[in-house]
C-alpha cells in the first residue's frame, strides 16, 4: 500500500500499474547507469570524462527541475548554488587545509545558506520577478568572485584542489566516474522520493494553482522555501563534483550563462519529470562536446538546435519520445 494512504488511514484500491512499475523503472535506471559506467570504464579517458560531465550536469539540471518543473519557480540564478558550494569547498581545502570530509559539507552548507538568503528576498515576488531577482542576485555573487581576487583568485579562479581519497585516491578518470555515478544515483533517488512524497504533491499543487493550495490550508511560502533549499543542496553537490573533476573553480561556475544552460537542459528534456532533465543534460553536454570539436561557432549551432526543439518538441524531448513510441506501438498493433 502507498505510504501516503497508510498515513491517512485509508484502504484505497490503486491501479496495478503504479508503484510496482515505478520501482521496476527505478531499478532499470540504476542498472542502466551501472552498465554505462562499466562500458565507459573500458574506454579512453575522453568518453569517461564526458560521461562524468553528463552525470554532473544531469544532477544539476534535476536540482533545478525541483524548482522549475515541480514548484513552478523559474530561476536564472541556479549557478549561484553550484558555484558557491564549489568555491566554499575549494577555499576550505586551500586556505584552511581541511580534508574532503570537512570541506564538502561546508560547501553544501554555504549553498543552502545562500539559497536561504536569496529566497527570503526572491520569494516575496511573483514568478517573472522571481526569475529576474535570482538572476540579479547570482550576478552579485559572480561580480564578487571576479573582483575579490585575494580570496577567489579573480578571473583565474582557484586551482590545485585534490580529488577526495575514499579508501584510495580517486585520481583516475574511471575511479572518479564511479564516485560521481554513486553520488548521482543516491541524489537522484533522494529527489525521486521527494517529488513522490506528500511534500512533492504539495509542490505540484503550488505549481498548478498556488491560491488554491492556500485555500486548502497549505502555507505555500514555506513549501517553496524548503524546495529552494533542497534544490540548492543538490546543485551544491553537483558543483562540488564539478570542482573535484577539474581540480579548479572559476567565475564561470557562477555565471548567468551556466544558469541559462541548465535551464535549457531542463526545458529540452521536459520540466517536471526529473528523468527528462537527465536526458536534456545528456543531449546538451554531448552535443556541446561534439559540435565544439568541429567549429568555434558551436554556440550558434546549439542555439539553432534549441530553436528546433522549441518548434518540434516544445514540451521537451521526453514527451516527444513518448508520443513517438506510442505511435509506433499503435502502428505495430494495427498491423498485427
Amino acid at each position: 500500500m502507498n505510504p501516503h494512504l497508510e498515513a491517512t488511514g485509508t484502504r484505497v484500491r490503486r491501479p496495478l500499474w503504479t508503484d510496482r512499475s515505478r520501482t521496476i523503472r527505478l531499478l532499470a535506471a540504476v542498472a542502466g547507469i551501472v552498465l554505462v559506467v562499466l562500458a565507459a570504464s573500458t574506454l579512453g579517458s575522453y568518453p569517461v570524462e564526458l560521461i562524468t560531465q553528463v552525470l554532473i550536469y544531469a544532477l544539476f539540471a534535476m536540482s533545478l527541475d525541483l524548482l522549475v518543473g515541480y514548484t513552478g519557480l523559474p530561476s536564472l540564478g541556479h549557478s549561484a548554488y553550484f558555484g558557491v558550494a564549489a568555491y566554499a569547498a575549494a577555499l576550505c581545502s586551500l586556505k584552511l587545509g581541511l580534508p574532503f570530509w570537512c570541506a564538502a559539507p561546508v560547501g553544501l552548507l554555504a549553498a543552502v545558506v545562500t539559497a536561504l538568503l536569496f529566497n527570503l528576498i526572491a520569494l516575496r515576488t511573483a514568478r517573472g520577478y522571481y526569475l529576474m531577482i535570482t538572476l540579479a542576485l547570482a550576478q552579485v555573487l559572480w561580480s564578487i568572485a571576479v573582483s575579490w581576487t585575494d580570496l577567489t583568485g579573480g578571473d583565474n579562479g582557484l586551482s590545485g584542489i585534490a580529488r577526495p581519497v575514499i579508501g584510495r585516491p580517486l585520481e583516475g578518470a574511471a575511479s572518479y566516474l564511479w564516485f560521481v555515478a554513486l553520488v548521482f544515483t543516491v541524489s537522484a533517488m533522494a529527489m525521486w522520493r521527494i517529488v513522490r512524497s506528500p511534500f512533492g504533491q504539495a509542490l505540484k499543487g503550488i505549481r498548478e494553482n498556488e491560491p488554491r493550495m492556500r485555500a486548502l490550508g497549505y502555507e505555500t511560502w514555506r513549501y517553496k522555501l524548503v524546495a529552494s533549499l533542497l534544490a540548492a543542496l543538490f546543485a551544491g553537490i553537483a558543483g562540488e563534483c564539478f570542482l573535484y573533476l577539474n581540480g579548479f573553480v572559476g567565475p564561470s561556475s557562477l555565471a548567468v550563462a551556466l544558469s541559462a544552460q541548465v535551464l535549457l537542459m531542463v526545458l529540452m528534456g521536459a520540466a517536471g519529470t526529473l528523468f527528462g532533465s537527465m536526458i536534456g543534460a545528456a543531449v546538451f553536454v554531448v552535443l556541446q562536446n561534439i559540435v565544439s570539436s568541429y567549429t568555434d561557432r558551436w554556440l550558434f549551432v546549439m542555439g539553432a538546435i534549441y530553436v528546433l526543439f522549441a518548434l518540434y518538441a516544445p514540451a521537451g524531448a521526453l514527451p516527444w519520445l513518448r508520443e513517438r513510441w506510442a505511435r509506433y506501438r499503435n502502428s505495430v498493433g494495427g498491423n498485427t
Partner: protein, 262 residues
C-alpha cells in the same frame, strides 16, 4: 492548529437542534473589498447560523465570488469584519482559515490538472486530519468520500485533466469533504452539471447539514436554492439587498424577476 484557530473551529460546531435558535457559524459585517480602484463589495452583511444552509444569489458580476474570496482571505477586504464563531478572522491568511475547518468548493472546480484523483484527495485530507474532533458523524476519510462518489474510485489513478466536467465537480466536492469542514463554502457548485448529479449533490448537502456542517452556497440555479436553503441572501451591485427564507423567495416572483432575471 493554533489556540484561536481551534476555538474558531469549535465555535462552528453546535448541538442545538433548532436552526433559528443557533448562534452564527459565519458573520460578515460591513465588508468592503476593492480590486485596485474598483469598489466591488459595498458593505456586505450576512449571517449564517450553525447547521444551516445559507445561499447567496444574484446575477453575474454582482460580487458573489468576490464575497467568497474575501471571506476566505484570498481577496482581503479593505474594511469590515468576518467572524467564524466568535473569532474575527478578517485578517487571517487563507491557509490559516482552512486549517480551522473551513473548506471551499470553488467556481469552475479549480482542480490541479496534472495531479491524479488520488493525489487531490490526499492533498485535501492532509489538512483535514487536524479538524475531525467534535463532529457527531464519522470523519470524512478518502474511503468515505469514494463511497459517495464511486465514479472517482474508478478514476483514482487518472490525471484530473482527463476527467469530465461532472467528475471534476465530484472531485472538487470530495477534496473539500476529506478536509472535514465545519463550514463549507461552495461557489456555483451546480454549474454545468447534469440533473442527476445535481440531485446527488443536493442529497449530499442535506446529509452534511444533518451531520453538523454549516454550508454557504453561492448559486444561480434557483430551483436548487429553493430546494435546499434555510435562508437566501439576494445580492445586487456589491450589496446584500434582501434576505428571506427560501419559501418566501419562492412565493415572490416579483423578487426573482427583479434581482435574478428569472
Amino acid at each position: 492548529m493554533t489556540k484561536s484557530a481551534s476555538r474558531a473551529s469549535e465555535d462552528i460546531v453546535g448541538n442545538d437542534p433548532a436552526i433559528g435558535a443557533l448562534p452564527v457559524a459565519l458573520k460578515v459585517s460591513g465588508l468592503h473589498t476593492y480590486y485596485g480602484d474598483s469598489h466591488v463589495l459595498h458593505g456586505v452583511d450576512l449571517d449564517l447560523p450553525r447547521r444551516s444552509i445559507g445561499c447567496v444569489v444574484g446575477r453575474n458580476g454582482v460580487g458573489k465570488t468576490t464575497l467568497v474570496r474575501s471571506i476566505l482571505g484570498l481577496s482581503p477586504p479593505a474594511q469590515g469584519q468576518v467572524h467564524i464563531g466568535a473569532e474575527d478572522v478578517s485578517r487571517w491568511p487563507a491557509h490559516r482559515l482552512a486549517r480551522c475547518a473551513v473548506a471551499l468548493v470553488p467556481q469552475g472546480r479549480r482542480i490541479f490538472p496534472s495531479l491524479t484523483v488520488l493525489e487531490h484527495l490526499q492533498i485535501g485530507a492532509r489538512t483535514g486530519e487536524r479538524g475531525v474532533d467534535g463532529l457527531a458523524a464519522a470523519p470524512w476519510t478518502i474511503d468515505r468520500a469514494l463511497e459517495i462518489f464511486p465514479r472517482l474510485q474508478e478514476r483514482l489513478g487518472h490525471r484530473a485533466a482527463t476527467l469530465s466536467g461532472g467528475e471534476r465537480q465530484m472531485l472538487a466536492v470530495a477534496r473539500a469533504l476529506v478536509a472535514n469542514p465545519r463550514l463549507l463554502i461552495m461557489d456555483e457548485p451546480t454549474e454545468g452539471l447534469s440533473p442527476a448529479i445535481v440531485d446527488q449533490l443536493r442529497e449530499l448537502l442535506l446529509r452534511l447539514r444533518s451531520e453538523g456542517v454549516s454550508i454557504l452556497l453561492v448559486e444561480q440555479n434557483l430551483a436548487f436554492v429553493l430546494a435546499l436553503a434555510d435562508r437566501v441572501h439576494i445580492m445586487d451591485k456589491g450589496r446584500i439587498v434582501h434576505a428571506c427564507s427560501a419559501v418566501q423567495l419562492g412565493e415572490s416572483p416579483e423578487m426573482t424577476r427583479r434581482y435574478l432575471g428569472v
